[in-house]
């Protein structure tokens, strides 16, 4: 059998196939666009009866999504690897912005989470998620040779714990939990030893028990009472009918929606949506029974109006988004990219699961947004920045693979 002549190595490398020149991951982009469209459509329902301009929220959200998408495209053209060297700067920006919010911030719902700019109220903790992912990833990469050492694990945890404490003080418990989740995920993916991870898990359990049970018992309130209440409300899904009027009174007094009332109303909204949604008959969300149905509880608006079908579609889009993120994690050309993707995956998974779980009554009420769906510029733009980083990792991975002759799918 005659052998075909072997091509000489001197030949120039083959031109990249057309597909590989696609500047973006098509499925990731598709998921993002799909979620953006769903967000706008759902917001139309959730905010229809607000007294001001009925399209106010929809228009603003569309603008945020547009700006975020543009930023995503921009970042996808950059090489994320260049950010690695500046991680200390980013970490400093993270801490300073959170401190700035604490100092200058504008209080909403009993929490100081944002600085109001003329067109935009800047929520540092949202952007902080991306900054933290980048900084921690770079820190881990820097110590790549000492990954299995306890020292590395502790340093990463401390680096995450400082901003976490600062946002919890704001108080924005939800973001704090996201930060810690990101740190754990990064350690996990970076290859920290199982022993460290087990110790970490034990530590988490002990600190939860301490914060919720032990500390209040001796009179130290690490969390504000309303936070504890939110965290534990879902455990007694309860007797809401009787408690409802009481809760409403309290809400009138404190301006803070009662978590169990909120969750009950949200469950009614989603449950009443049925298979295909209540459509124009929807009442829970349009008539204001579900508080914060435009932000944290937007999934209730979706579930009521479009039912199991609509909720399922959005969940499928999230599944696609997360699976593509994990795919980017695996295909990344370097550890830094993998870690960034892992951090973003952690952020997305945690927020989707906790937020949706909270609206359907299986998770405590924490102020965690539903990425890309919830109304809010900071959250939308931060998430899209993250997706931009994923795109960049994807593009770089394809480019380097092409250079190396590897075929990546």
């Amino acid at each position: 059998m005659p052998l075909s002549p072997i091509k000489p190595t001197e030949e120039p490398p083959p031109t990249l196939p057309r597909a590989s020149r696609l500047p973006l991951d098509p499925l990731l982009t598709l998921a993002v666009i799909g979620l953006g469209v769903c967000s706008v459509i759902t917001l139309k329902v959730a905010t229809r009866d607000l007294p001001i301009d009925p399209h106010y929220y929809v228009e603003r959200q569309a603008i945020y999504l547009g700006v975020g998408f543009a930023l995503m495209l921009g970042i996808s053209r950059l090489d994320y690897a260049r950010l690695r060297r500046h991680w200390r700067v980013m970490y400093a920006v993270l801490l300073l912005s959170i401190l700035a919010v604490l100092g200058l911030g504008h209080s909403a719902n009993g929490a100081q989470r944002a600085i109001n700019f003329p067109l935009f109220s800047f929520q540092a903790s949202e952007l902080g998620k991306i900054l933290l992912i980048l900084a921690l990833s770079a820190l881990i990469v820097e110590r790549a040779r000492h990954l299995r050492e306890r020292d590395t694990t502790v340093r990463v945890l401390i680096a995450a714990l400082v901003p976490t404490m600062l946002v919890i003080v704001q108080p924005d418990l939800g973001s704090g939990l996201v930060y810690m989740t990101i740190a754990c995920m990064l350690l996990f993916v970076a290859g920290t030893s199982w022993r460290h991870l087990a110790a970490l898990a034990a530590l988490v359990c002990v600190s939860i028990a301490f914060v919720l049970v032990a500390a209040p018992a001796v009179g130290v309130h690490v969390l504000k009472p309303y936070q504890v209440e939110r965290l534990t409300a879902f455990i007694h899904p309860n007797s809401n009918a009787q408690k409802e009027s009481e809760s409403k009174e309290r809400e009138a007094k404190d301006g803070e929606p009662d978590p169990s009332y909120q969750q009950q109303q949200s469950k009614i909204a989603i449950g009443s949506g049925g298979k295909t949604g209540r459509g124009p008959n929807a009442s829970q969300v349009p008539y204001g029974f579900v508080p914060e149905s435009d932000t944290d509880f937007i999934f209730a608006a979706l579930g009521e109006k479009y039912g199991f079908v609509g909720a399922g579609l959005v969940l499928a889009l999230y599944a696609l988004l997360i699976s593509r993120t994990l795919r980017v994690l695996v295909m990344s050309k370097d550890l830094f990219g993998s870690l960034i993707a892992a951090g973003i995956a952690a952020m997305l998974m945690f927020q989707v699961f906790v937020n949706v779980g909270m609206t359907i009554g299986i998770m405590p009420v924490t102020g965690v947004t539903l990425p890309l769906m919830s109304y809010g510029g900071s959250s939308v733009i931060a998430t899209l920045l993250g997706v931009g980083l994923l795109q960049s990792i994807y593009v770089q991975a394809r480019a380097s693979a092409a250079l190396k002759g590897r075929v990546l799918r």
């Binding site: 009866d49 449950g271 949506g273 009442s283 579930g303 997360i322 994690l329 550890l335 190396k404």
Partner: protein, 728 residues
Amino acid sequence: MSAIEPVKPRDPRVPVSPQLALRVAIISGVAMVMFGVIFFRLWFLQVLSSEQYVSQADAELARHLPIAAPRGQILDREGQPIVGSTTTNAVQIVPEELPPGISSQVAAYQATLDEAEEARHVALARLSSFRASLGGVRRLTHAQHHELDSLRRAAAPPRVAVPPLPASDTALAGLFERLGHVIGMRARTIDERVVEGMTATPYAHVTIKTAAGSGPLTVLGERADEFPGVVQEPVSIREYPFGEMAAQILGYVGQVSEPELKQPAFRGVKQGTIVGQAGLEYYYDHYLRGKPGVQRVAVNAEGQPVPSKLPPTPPQAGYSLQTTLDLGLQRASEKAMQEGMEHARAGGKPAIAGGFVALDPRNGEVLAMGSSPSFDPDKFAKPLSYREYAELSSGANGIPGRLTDLADEGEYPTGSTFKPITAMAALEAGVITPSEGLGSGQCIYVSTEPFCNAGHADYGAVGLVEALKVSSDTYFFEVGERANAYGNVIQNKAHELGVGEPTGIDLPSEFPGVVPDRRWLAEQDELETKCEAAHHGNRCYIVAEPGAPWTVGYNMDLAVGQGELLTDPLQMAVAYSTLANAYRNGGEGTVVTPHLGKQIDERSGSLLQTLRFPSRHVHLNSEDLGLVMEGIHDAASEPGGTSADVWSGWNQELHPVYGKTGTAERAGHVEQSWYMCYIADPKHPIVIAVTVEEGGFGAETAAPIARLIASQWFGVAKRFVAGSSKTF
């Protein structure tokens, strides 16, 4: 893998090591589990339990407003409506369409109301403890009266003034001003009704005026945009085609009050429902009320109504009550009362008030019944002011309030109309024999205390029949004196015939009456003792002389229907009915339960239920009864009879009259005129009872009224013939 990797990257390149692959697989697994959990939870919520949540969502959304049911009619015995329900276009206000100033006003009003309510509860508690401290005392000292009055006033349902409109809200003030101009009401009155209405039933329309007339309604309809929040809605209201006729009997309606909601009679009644408040409207409310429908109004989380298409449940109209009243007789009787009272006034008597009853003696059907002065129940069909109500309910200068039905709520001695009862008792007990001559002279003396005939007449010693005919007081004083030795013979007979007992008539607030006897006196004495103990030994005047024993004087006064006897025309009519039907049946009589209700009809007019009332059998000695009846027949027909001249020209053959005049003496009052009669007829016998407070002698005022009533009943020409008898 790394073996064939040709290039060593400068970065710490991590190829997909088994370690990383494992960890990513774990992450993927966790993600899949999470999505799985969410998916199944959604499946559970949205597919399996969807219906439950839909109904919960609807329940959150809907507020239920009652749609008033048209009340059943009240008909006379022939089925002609005497109280109707009519639908009229009412001017209503839709609160949420008003300019926003109203809500702050409502909030301010609600706050004051809550305060007042709190104060009232304090006063109520103090009142009840004060009452408890008084015990069974009947007459109070001046200071106690004062204290009790002020506490009562404080414990009455609060009357809170509506705060003035916020001056800034010119839109609201302007609207009320314009509306008031169109429908002829003061803007302030409209504002008050709106605020009160919104406080009582927050989501319901507030009725401003029920009968605005077609002119204003047209104006409002044509210029609807100038009157935001003003609508016209058909409402069902009470209609009284005969005005004041039988007003106290029929009663009136009004919104159910807070205390009424706690009564068993109003169990299940929704707040704001129109219910019967008095008379037949109250007694038969259960039938007349109907069942309110439900209008479902969708509201948002703030409680503001939002448009929706929730289906209403239509109301069910109430049943009609057919009464035993004879419309013609009722109208004629009331006219006769007017005529008689005017005549008395022309004769210089005050004739301040009066009541009458016409019964069918066979079965107790009330053919006509009424009280004068009357009131216009239509006033209660519309929003009624507190002052108007107070004027109607409380009397002044000794005149009873117009809302009181004197026929069954009066409390009077009866004068000589009681004598047939005394006679029956004495004869049956063997106290006297019919032919025995008694009562000669002008007065009877009991240990120097004189008991005299009216005008100090001397009838000589007369027999029973003659004594009844001329109404000899001395005769009956003697009977009473003798009967005292036999115990409570007169009292027992009175109770047996139905005097001093609740008659069981189908009206609320019937007066039970008092027939004085030894035990009653002992009870009164005990009350006096208790009262004095509670008042540091001060006299309470429950009895004239504390500790004084029963004397023969009590019995003598009772024998002529005076003294401590307290009864009303209805009880007397029952007693005379018993005499009458026993007379017709050879001594076997029935004590009937007088009643106004005949049957309950469906809205369509078909019979739903015939109302039945129990009666009690009583045996009277027919011989004795014959003598008594002869006596009172003579009184109404024979020359010299007390009311014979009143019945002059009456066909006694066809419709023999058995009638007895009465003139009750009440301290501090002009004599009260009484007349009781039974007029026999094979088909339509009738017992008529008439009394006129401060109307003079029985023959003078009450008897002629009775004749007018009888004339109407038997269809003969009406003549007002005042009698001349000056007997008691």
